[in-house]
């Protein structure tokens, strides 16, 4: 990463969305509860490869990395996750409705 050519740094920021704040909260809570270390997060982020910077936003990469770590920690199974995700997708069409606010 360091020293690679890159363009201008985009200076405009964005307000955090609720789901992003929740991702952040889960990251802090689950790591403090011992499910993974920051090193585990970094490893998964690195393994996603450089392309993930183009195709995913910062918090999308982080929720993917947290989830991967939680699966590896045995917190829940891929089957449980898949079942739950399908149920949520069927629940509603917006984040607000699907997450209950």
């Amino acid at each position: 990463m360091g020293g690679q050519n890159a363009g201008k740094i985009p200076l405009e920021g964005h307000d955090f969305a609720l789901w992003e704040k929740r991702v952040d909260a889960l990251m802090v809570l689950c790591s403090s509860k011992g499910y993974f270390t920051v090193d585990g997060l970094r490893r998964v982020l690195e393994d996603m490869g450089e392309d993930s910077f183009e195709t995913m936003t910062y918090y999308e990469r982080w929720v993917a990395a947290i989830n991967q770590n939680m699966v590896e920690a045995g917190a829940y199974s891929l089957h449980e996750l898949g079942t739950k995700m399908a149920e949520i997708t069927a629940r509603a069409e917006t984040y607000g409705e699907a997450s209950g606010g």
Partner: protein
């Protein structure tokens, strides 16, 4: 290995895959120990949920000339990074 303050060290030039925490741009570069930071659990093991050994960690200061050669923006500027002992070997001053 007993790196002490201001000792010259070189970052090993090896290039294993995986989570190693030593930035690629510093591999093979020489710097001086700015301060020892004490022992920390090896992130290469923590990253893979393995029991982690403790490794001494050092802040090492590199000149931009050393890191980037003729591409350095300003050769006298410096770059400090935290490097684990097993990535460092003693070397002579450049």
């Amino acid at each position: 290995m007993a790196e002490t303050l201001h000792n010259w060290v070189r970052v090993r030039a090896m290039m294993p895959p995986g989570h190693v925490r030593t930035p690629s741009y510093l591999r093979g570069k020489r710097g001086q120990v700015e301060r020892p930071l004490g022992p920390f659990h090896n992130p290469e093991q923590l990253a893979y949920r393995l029991k982690a050994d403790q490794q001494p960690l050092y802040r090492v200061r590199f000149s931009m000339a050393e890191v980037w050669g003729k591409d350095a923006e300003n050769p006298g500027d410096t770059l400090d990074a935290e490097i684990y002992a097993h990535w460092l070997e003693p070397c002579d001053a450049p």
